[in-house]
Symmetry: C2
Subunit: 328 residues, 2 copies
């Protein structure tokens, strides 16, 4: 029997979940929920119901896990506590500073309903968090580094688009190679913001706009760019569409640590991702954790969980016997 | 209160466990068990009892987790089932093909005694297994690669030492850089044994020995070297001691996988280790899993487990609240 999935929100992430479900033979997409007019939304998978979000509770008996594909700013803080009253849910809440608060809200709902709610699933938070945890538990005497990129930052691209005279823009976050090398060499450097990442911007300006002013406004923008070495390239709209339409991302989690009676031995643990599509990879992580949420709930477990709480074997389609034989 | 640890076997791994315990403030080394004469063994930590293995059962009430530091060939297949009748145990059983059998034997003992027995803990099996599992669950449409090295293979070094005319030797397993690059580029190559790793040998020959014959015997040795590109360097005993006394190791687990409705996006997940001391790193992994074994048993859980079954948070000294706040 398949795990029956609902997708709540059909943007880039929701579409990624839809395509990921097709790669998991034990999962079935039952319905997509949208705030728009359902009659005007066509989804890629045949036979899938498209429903209004207002009608979600009518599907309680038809859905084993509801995957919440809204944003962290305003959607998930409301939706995850609310929907975990009725469904096992998985979300990708990624506002790191507000995770404890979100956890508490969701835990109360999910404990009351007897459902499992898995929050902050994806790659950071998510796979990167797991790697920070494993590496720091194994090498308690050491130092962690997380680098992001090369990849598109949606927030920074949006910030450029708000500059007067800008038609469209794409911003790439890029780790500084020298910093990566120093970390990999076990030098345990103290790195400033500027020393860790550079920001590269591809900007389409409106006709007649003052390019020097735009470049200066971008480079001096507080929080977003002022603390970084930023380069700005002006390109045409055609070039932007042709060369920068993807949503790649990735990054590195590196721990450098010491062992031995005199801390004489050094060790480097490195985890890296190179992703052609940030939302599709995030969706793939979410779908494997939807399987875990379902299984845990079948065992009578409830409440809010994160990737740090989930036994790895629960993510896999394979049996424990297969996993021990083939992967251990 | 500390988790009270016993070390069963005091070779390289046992000494690594001893030094790892010093880095974990919630752990305490209570006793070291040896098959040798305990009065002739001095351990590095003051105040630790040195006991004969025959006396282990006298310490049942004093030890929370017994860490088994024997070998996989003959020690662990007997010791882990036997000692899990009395103690929570962790071993590093690494004969991949015999894991299912070992698991069954240990599970029967540990279930009967109500103890937790964690087997095959280390980095391969261990951290590499975890990464194979996570990556394949997240990217079901893809291909896994494991490379080992650059590092010392004890088995291959021993094989060289058995060649007539060889005084001492050290063998390094080295991944082929071109193969690594091809995998990282998402080319999903089919790789033969020879294409994945090369073997580099540093050999001290006895005086007057026939070097050409030794080199030929090494390079044509079935199973160990015949299927690899092998290089042999003859060096002096002094050089061997000066340049090759360490036990470094490491390796790479890489999964290349696709997502998207038309499998149009490629993703690379890479995990790598660069270890100055193979036994000390293995020991560090084991000690973090000893914490998990103790906690699980405190919760009433029993039976044989592997790294694939353990919720990551159980490895850490930090509370779940701290982990969510600091690492997620």
């Amino acid at each position: 029997m398949s795990v029956r999935i609902g997708i709540y929100g059909y943007g880039n992430l929701g579409r990624g979940v839809e395509s990921a479900i097709r790669q998991n033979g034990d999962m079935e997409l039952v319905a997509v929920f949208t705030r728009r007019d359902p009659s005007k939304l066509t989804v890629a998978t045949e036979g899938v119901k498209v429903c209004h979000t207002d009608d979600a509770l009518k599907m309680i008996d038809d859905i084993d896990v509801m995957i919440l594909c809204g944003g962290s700013a305003t959607d998930l803080p409301v939706q995850t506590p609310e929907l975990s009253k009725y469904f096992n849910v998985v979300d990708s809440f990624d506002t790191h500073a507000r995770i404890p608060e979100h956890f508490a809200n969701v835990d109360a709902s999910a404990k009351a309903s007897g459902k499992v709610a898995l929050i902050s699933v994806g790659w950071d938070p998510g796979m990167f968090s797991l790697n920070r945890l494993y590496a720091s538990a194994v090498l308690p005497e050491g130092k962690d580094y997380t680098f992001w990129g090369r990849g598109v930052s949606q927030g920074h691209s949006d910030a450029i688009r708000r500059v007067e005279g800008v038609l469209d823009a794409k911003q790439y976050t890029i780790p500084v190679e020298a910093a990566l090398e120093s970390v990999r060499n076990g030098e345990n450097p103290e790195l400033t913001t500027r020393q860790k990442h550079i920001r590269e911007c591809f900007v389409v300006a409106k006709e007649g706009a003052d390019l020097a002013r735009i470049e200066n406004e971008i480079k001096t923008m507080p929080n977003y760019f002022a603390d970084y070495d930023t380069t700005v390239h002006f390109i045409t709209l055609e070039e932007l569409k042709r060369d920068h339409s993807g949503i790649p991302h990735g990054g590195f989690v590196i721990r450098s640590g010491k062992t031995g009676l005199d801390s004489e031995h050094n060790h480097i643990i490195e985890y890296s991702l190179k992703l052609d599509s940030n939302p599709e990879f995030t969706a793939s992580v979410i779908v494997s954790y939807a399987r875990a949420a379902y299984r845990l709930n079948q065992e009578g477990i409830s409440g809010c969980k994160t990737v740090l709480d989930i036994p790895p074997a629960y993510l896999s389609m394979k049996t424990n016997e297969q996993l021990r034989k083939e992967l251990l």
